[in-house]
């Protein structure tokens, strides 16, 4: 039973060893010139000191929402891709491709609309 997981444990061990090797190696080999800015927890991110309830642009929500929608629509492509070969063997590959093209065109309409309405513009 346990033997079946042998490769897994080897992989786990290798991962741990490698991770430490890279961390230590970078510290030993790389030049180290620390300054105030580099020492911050998020070097190029937001200042983590202060209240977390500051207001930030509603654009973040907008992009997140757009991402959710387009991201999730991809679930329809997985079953299509997984069964495409069987349709191909049955000789209806072109039709199946056509159907999924229509689906992607509908998604593209949404994307065109989004771009033209400025949903993806940051400034």
């Amino acid at each position: 039973m346990l033997a079946e997981y042998g490769p897994f444990f080897i992989q786990l061990g290798l991962a741990i060893v490698l991770a430490f090797a890279f961390l230590k190696g970078a510290a030993l080999l790389g030049p180290s010139r620390p300054n105030r800015i580099k020492q911050m927890p998020y070097e190029s991110g937001m200042d983590p000191i202060g209240t977390a309830r500051t207001r930030y642009s509603v654009k973040f929500y907008l992009v997140a929402m757009i991402f959710i929608v387009f991201d999730v629509e991809v679930v329809f492509l997985y079953p299509w891709a997984a069964s495409f070969e069987r349709f191909l063997d049955a000789g209806v590959g072109l039709e199946v491709l056509g159907v999924v093209t229509i689906f992607v065109i509908i998604l593209a309409v949404g994307l065109v609309y989004d771009i033209k309405k400025g949903g993806l513009e940051f400034d």
């Binding site: 929402m65 757009i66 959710i68 929608v69 679930v75 329809f76 079953p79």
Partner: protein, 101 residues
């Protein structure tokens, strides 16, 4: 111990009830919304378990639709919540009561 169909059905029923209670007793719109999503995902679990049990893919096809509908609903819902926050500066349902019954 073997995990039978009933375990999945029980788990999803419990999740569904948690979602229902969340909708009924929470006051923050975002939390209510999350509870609704929990309800939908509980049903997804039911559907997948049933489809697997019966060896039928129809239930799983419906799950795809539910996932995408939930995403569309999330987008519309968040947009409405942002609009209401801009108008009333609150997302507490007890304070959003312009219309009286």
């Amino acid at each position: 111990m073997e995990v039978t169909l009933n375990w999945y059905l029980m788990l999803s029923a419990i999740l569904f009830v948690i979602g229902v209670l969340g909708v009924l007793f929470r006051r923050n719109v975002i939390v209510i919304f999350m509870s609704v999503e929990l309800m939908l995902n509980a049903v997804n679990l039911t559907l997948v378990a049933l489809a697997q049990h019966m060896g039928d893919t129809t239930g799983q096809i419906l799950v795809f639709f539910v996932i995408s509908v939930a995403a569309a609903e999330a987008a519309v819902g968040l947009a409405i919540i942002i609009a209401i926050f801009r108008n009333q500066q609150t997302v507490d349902v007890t304070e959003i009561n312009l219309f009286k019954y």
